[in-house]
Symmetry: C2
Subunit: 494 residues, 2 copies
């Protein structure tokens, strides 16, 4: 008996998964291990692998099998699997190779120049390259829109957050905008009178690492199937069977590395607990960027910055970094919930972070829809930073609209994932708290099973079996509801 079309697809996607394994390890190595002299050869090898993966996904045979498999008798699991295969296929096949190549080139040129231009506060220089990136991104959005029937910006959003659309984002972010600026002011007033002890460094890197490893263990990271290393930009990489997370250490600050490790451990546990028997197929892989971030933010924001968790780990902080008053649980909680509007998204606290994301979403959507031009960005940036955060960024492009890498290579549609992730996470914990009223007491006592079991059953083990909206509905009993996020922030910060 010859293999069914669905079986043929499984074997192609299995092959692709193995290629992705090599790309992931080579990419991790490049960021965490590789000496600089290896960069050109590594770049060439990884580009060759990208060509191979793209050729595998654009093989005309695949289109035939996808059509035939749709006619075959498939069970529900296989139908979900086929749906996800089709989605992967579309990402690789909807755009002409010439556009993909042109955008990659323009993006790489713009990003490369941006690294210096940002330092030099050179917005005009940046514009020269960025106009072309924007032009090609608009072309991409139009083509994806024509093919999918979605709006132009929605078609880009769908790459990172499948199933999400801007009407939904608009509804959610619109809600947040009604209460967030006021809440920020309220919290700042409240915190103005707070006593806060500053931790005295230096904090030895080895000690910070040992602390991080102990916290990872507490959070259930499987060291038999993963590692912790160092890179300039922390990330979670590797493969589900061997997850590589990274952090960076500064000897005058332990807060960033410690909570960064908690964050990446959230990403890591999602990967480590994906269903092993399906992880070689798209349906067995992580659902979306927003859902991935909902795991890291469940760990970092819901769990990590909670007084209960900080009470649990305060003795570990003292054990590794030494005894000082700043490491008392209550003070740690104050340190990790300090609200200070600032210029930089990646340095933002939990409360002001959504403002940074909403601002970027509004600007990038207008850019893609053609409502504004690249030249209009700085004025809009200044206006929104003033309105949402009361921060004056005029003339400071470096710490303003030049601060992020995302737009330099045309990754429009990515930013909303961060805040959607934070909202999913708040909604999960609201659900968990309903059935576990003594959650905080259990966390403080070191029992994290209510959290881990819930995430495992409702998110990790579900991989891409359901579309995002259904995953969230099944897990929490309702659609994404920003009220949970607001309630969480009010409970924690007021």
């Amino acid at each position: 008996m010859s293999a069914s079309a669905y079986q043929q697809l499984e074997s192609v996607f299995t092959r692709l998964y193995r290629y992705q394994h090599l790309a992931a390890i080579a990419g991790w190595d490049q960021a965490a291990m590789m000496p600089p002299g290896g960069n050109d050869a590594r770049g060439a090898a990884m580009a060759e692998l990208s060509v191979l993966m793209h050729a595998t996904l654009t093989d005309p045979q695949l289109n035939t099998w996808l059509a035939s498999a749709g006619q075959e008798e498939l069970d529900a699991a296989q139908q979900a699997s086929l749906r996800e295969m089709r989605r992967s296929w579309q990402h690789a096949n909807l755009l002409p190779a010439s556009l993909v190549e042109a955008k990659a080139l323009a993006g790489s040129r713009c990003e490369h120049a941006w690294r210096e231009q940002r330092k030099a506060n050179d917005w005009q220089g940046f514009l020269q390259n960025f106009r072309e990136v924007l032009r090609l991104s608009r072309e991409e959005a139009q083509l994806l829109s024509d093919a999918s029937g979605k709006g132009r910006y929605d078609a880009l959003l769908d790459k990172y957050e499948p199933g999400m659309n801007s009407a939904e984002v608009e509804r959610i972010f619109g809600d947040v905008k009604t209460w967030l600026p006021g809440l920020i002011r309220q919290v700042m007033d409240k915190q103005a009178g707070e006593q806060l002890l500053t931790a005295q460094g230096p904090f030895a890197v080895d000690s910070q690492r040992a602390l991080g490893v102990e916290i990872m263990g507490l959070l259930g990271f499987d060291f038999d199937a993963g590692r912790l290393d160092v890179s300039v930009h922390p990330f979670c990489g590797g493969v589900a069977e061997d997850v590589r997370i990274t952090t960076r250490y500064r000897d005058d600050d332990f807060m960033q590395s410690m909570m960064g490790i908690v964050h990446e451990t959230g990403h890591a546990r999602y990967e480590q607990r994906l269903p092993r028997e399906l992880v070689h197929l798209p349906v067995g892989q992580a659902r979306s960027m927003g859902i991935h971030e909902s795991q890291s933010l469940s760990f970092e924001m819901q769990l990590g910055r909670s007084p209960a968790f900080l009470q649990l780990i305060a003795p570990l902080v003292k054990k590794h970094l030494g005894e000082q008053g700043a490491f008392d649980a209550a003070n740690l909680a104050r340190m990790y919930t300090r609200v200070r509007p600032g210029f930089i998204r990646v340095d933002a606290d939990e409360l002001t972070y959504p403002a940074h994301v909403i601002l970027r979403y509004e600007i990038e959507r207008a850019l893609i829809e053609g409502d504004i031009e690249a030249e209009d960005i700085p004025a809009l940036w200044d206006e929104k930073m003033t309105a949402y955060l009361g921060v004056d960024t005029r003339g400071n492009y470096r710490d303003g609209c030049l601060q992020d890498i995302h737009w330099t290579d045309g990754s429009f549609g990515y930013f909303p994932s961060y805040t959607l992730g934070a909202m999913y996470a708040a909604q999960y914990f609201a659900t968990i708290r309903r059935s576990v009223p003594d959650l905080d007491a259990r966390i403080a006592a070191g029992d994290l099973t209510p959290v881990m079991d819930w995430l495992d059953a409702n998110i990790w083990s579900q991989a891409s079996r359901w579309e995002t909206a259904e995953l969230v509905q099944r897990a929490t009993g309702e659609a994404l509801n920003p009220a949970h996020f607001r309630a969480h922030l009010q409970a924690r910060y007021l």
Copy 2:
């Protein structure tokens, strides 16, 4: 104008080089970084890559281009390049896929079982799997012999040491056998009366590593294009642009890690100094296993264990491991030239090592030629160990014929490379000494340029431009001549 056949070949071999890059990094990671849980997924990914590389090399188009390129106008460099491409092609194309697969399977089964059988001293159990490995290796040898006109064993030898044949090996090893056993006895008598201070541990791993890194720097290792890490079995891996060497540390012994690092640094500098503009093609890659080992042994044996070099590094040993009499240069030289016949090849000293290799060569050649059967190995092993080293191995399979991995997966023909490498190295240094009479004084004073410049000009930069015999002839003015090896041993040990 369409690309010439030779240009087509260059582009295929460039692609292959990039795939090899990924295989090398994934292999290094597996040995030096990967947690055990990642092993299955890594194995599947690397096997997929092997399939891809094999498919690339057996694409029928390649055969056509190889034939056409032979008719094109090529300069001498391109002709050498075409010769090496053809050699790579033959290795992948001379054997039917069914035999390659059967041998890989039998070899992997035999090797896997051997890991336990060796510990259990279970020769009879080993035989059950090994007979099939031998049968398939003989079939391979016969097919390669039919295709090349070489003898059966020579056809296997050619895989590792192209251009070498057993008549030549016979001539060289035959010579060694006339004087080596006597020399070993003479040296042992001499050393019996020697005073030797034993170094007192423990030796902190961090300190051993720091010492190793400093010695690597002294030897010219380019840390911008390579790394030093840890693995169970030390090796030199990675790619020419990013060489990854490993060692292993024991806190009760510094000698092994220190000289192991010197050895691997020899391999590494060969790779790092291959001609960058050609390294993506076979002609720009390392010549052979024997020539590669001649680099590590130039570093370890000719340079590393010389009194001059040990005089140079004795202060570094003391700096990192502490002040003690055992670290005086003269004592270090005695430690590193101590001759003690023993069971284990990888633990053998410079003088007894060739006896281990010659014994294996004689047995494996007879096995492949069909003069003996697998059952005959232990008796021959005992007989030769007694004759060459005066060591009684009867009944001790674990430390006898079960000690090496090479035969378990059918790597017959590999062993001679080790001693050929030692002999090439002795011949290089005889050549260097002729033009640099004060070589030892310069080494002791920290000036390694006479050695490095000579190796760079004569070996590293030459890559695979010449066949092995011509490379050696050009570098030293004569064919491989075991007299240099003998003279070196006599000068050092008598």
